[in-house]
């Protein structure tokens, strides 16, 4: 079921052309638009000619070059497709660096995550401030400190409360075996 794939030579790749100095202006401008529109202009996936590939079913020693091994699924056909995709991504990373599909996607994802985190921080800072105001208004602070602290804990860290729920929801998939699954995927 498992096999390895190696790139042992490189022929001219026509997909390099759109990134030559003759860059269409519209392409550059699209990056100035929103992220959603920017995603439409991801560079095309590269296709490696079959003649540049060397394929092996995992048994003996592997060939040289960039080698991808893939045995994630039970289907040899599926593993072959995955290995080709992974190899193409790897090659593109090497060739185009920060302009590769995966790098652009990762950058977009990181930007979105940062933006979400920022919004979340802003929201809870506002809630926090409101709660502190509310606590002052209640006024009995010194009399019952443990109750106030408990109350604050709950409201101030809803994110942690949310986290506490999540593992339980994920439990049916079994954490004990989960760790093996992630190790396999790696």
């Amino acid at each position: 079921m498992a096999f390895s794939l190696a790139l042992h030579r490189l022929t001219a790749r026509p997909w390099c052309l759109p990134y030559s100095p003759a860059f269409p202006l519209s392409f550059i401008r699209s990056f100035a638009l929103s992220a959603a529109q920017g995603e439409k202009h991801l560079p095309p996936r590269i296709v490696i000619p079959e003649s540049d590939l060397e394929e092996n079913f995992l048994k003996g020693s592997g060939p040289g070059g960039i080698v991808i091994k893939c045995q994630a699924t039970r289907s040899r056909d599926q593993n072959r497709k995955t290995a080709r995709r992974v190899l193409a991504e790897k090659l593109e990373d090497i060739e185009r660096g920060p302009e590769s599909r995966s790098a652009i996607k990762a950058a977009t994802k990181a930007r979105k995550k940062a933006s979400r985190a920022k919004k979340s921080r802003r929201k809870y800072r506002a809630l926090d401030a409101a709660k502190l105001d509310g606590g002052d208004e209640a006024g009995t602070g010194e009399v019952d400190p443990p109750a106030a602290a408990e109350h604050n804990d709950h409201v101030l860290h809803p994110a942690s409360a949310d986290n506490a729920v999540r593992p339980a929801a994920a439990a049916p998939t079994g954490p004990g075996v989960e760790c093996i699954a992630t190790q396999c995927a790696a």
């Binding site: 079921m1 045995q71 699924t73 039970r74 289907s75 599926q78 998939t173 079994g174 760790c179 699954a181």
Partner: protein, 362 residues
């Protein structure tokens, strides 16, 4: 079988006790971890439908696997090319090497061969799960040859195999809507005539084909039982020996045959059938290069125009060599023997390649 290093077992059981169970049969931590993941996915998926608890089920699956019970019988299927084929105890599990050979075989057909018949008739002998005929029917139309329609019949002596093959055909017809599967059917028959047969209750193939009104066939595919009794005891794994049907692995034959001859029993009979039905191309699976050479020699005696041996890995054409007059393609274990009549040499892009005229002598 050498004992597993206790360090390996300890590491596995520390990660997950079930992993140590699966490791007993897999004997390699990476593949054990993969198998455990597939078993767990299956158990969880199964319990979504039955609303049961997947943990006891997974434990039972792992315990069975630790005794060498085949993964494909536990999960109920195996991938063959890009088809998922159902597997059940009592019917041989399809092997990926066979799928590679069938895929390569279909790729040999020349889209520009205008002497191909509009209706190509294909026999799949000893079909088992039906995997070879199903994959052929699936892949052949993609080759875009002048063939307009396929007519395929799969044959097996075991009733459970015929039933499972038909089940597989229906499942693939429903799921994938592969229209070429409509002209595919499976019949129960014995390849040997009653006087030579070990199982006299099953009607013989030629009789069944006569009853069907179809005695002419173009292509004969077969993965027959080909393991000799010694090979069965010596070379097969515990999983295969204890849990897969021996009927599909070792030919039933009269006593007193030499060991290698016992393993080869089906090949002369299949070549004889190919002659009787006017077959133009034959693809036979074999155990290894030695058996491939013996089968190729038989085929030359039956006057086939071209005979070729294929090994497991057929990626590169640089690996071609010759054993006597016979061309051997690829690297790895000897896997298949291809034979063709003169009429079919252009079907397979093998014009001018002949073993009889000595073009390929080496």
């Amino acid at each position: 079988m050498p004992r597993l290093p206790s360090r390996l077992v300890a590491q596995a059981s520390q990660r997950n006790p079930l992993l140590a169970l699966v490791l007993r049969t897999c004997r390699d931590p990476t593949s054990a971890a993969l198998e455990l993941k597939w078993l767990r996915d299956y158990a969880v998926q199964h319990c979504v439908h039955t609303r049961g608890n997947w943990r006891p089920l997974l434990f039972r699956l792992c315990a069975a696997r630790s005794r060498g019970y085949p993964l494909q019988y536990l999960l109920g299927s195996e991938f063959f090319g890009d088809l998922e084929i159902k597997c059940k105890p009592g019917v041989l599990i399809p092997r990926s090497e066979t799928a590679t050979a069938v895929t390569h075989f279909v790729n040999q057909f020349n889209p520009a061969a205008f002497n191909l018949p509009p209706r190509l008739r294909v026999l799949d002998l000893c079909t088992g799960t039906g995997c070879i005929s199903l994959l052929f029917a699936h892949l052949f139309p993609k080759q875009r040859t002048p063939v307009k329609a396929l007519q395929i019949v799969g044959v097996d002596i075991a009733p459970e195999a015929v039933q499972l093959a038909e089940e597989n055909r229906r499942a693939l017809l429903d799921q994938a809507a592969i229209s070429s599967l409509q002209n595919l059917r499976y019949i129960q028959a014995d390849l040997f005539p009653p006087e030579e047969s070990q199982q006299t209750s099953v009607p013989s193939l030629i009789g069944r084909l006569e009853a069907l009104g179809q005695l002419e066939w173009d292509v004969i595919l077969s993965n027959p039982p080909y393991i000799s009794p010694n090979g069965f005891n010596r070379d097969t794994s515990r999983s295969v020996r204890n849990f897969e049907p021996k009927l599909a692995l070792v030919p039933m034959a009269a006593n007193g045959l030499a060991d290698a001859d016992h393993g080869d029993v089906f090949y002369p009979r299949i070549l004889e059938i190919a002659d009787q039905v006017g077959g133009k191309v034959v693809l036979l699976e074999v155990a290894d290069l030695d058996q491939a050479e013996r089968v190729a020699a038989m085929a030359l005696r039956y006057d086939w125009e071209g005979v070729e041996i294929w090994r497991d890995e057929l990626f590169s054409h640089d690996d071609t060599k010759y054993i006597g007059r016979i061309r051997v393609l690829g690297t790895g274990h000897g896997r298949s023997v291809l034979c063709w009549r003169k009429a079919a040499s252009s079907w397979l892009r093998r014009d001018g390649e002949s073993n009889t005229t000595g073009v390929a002598s080496g």
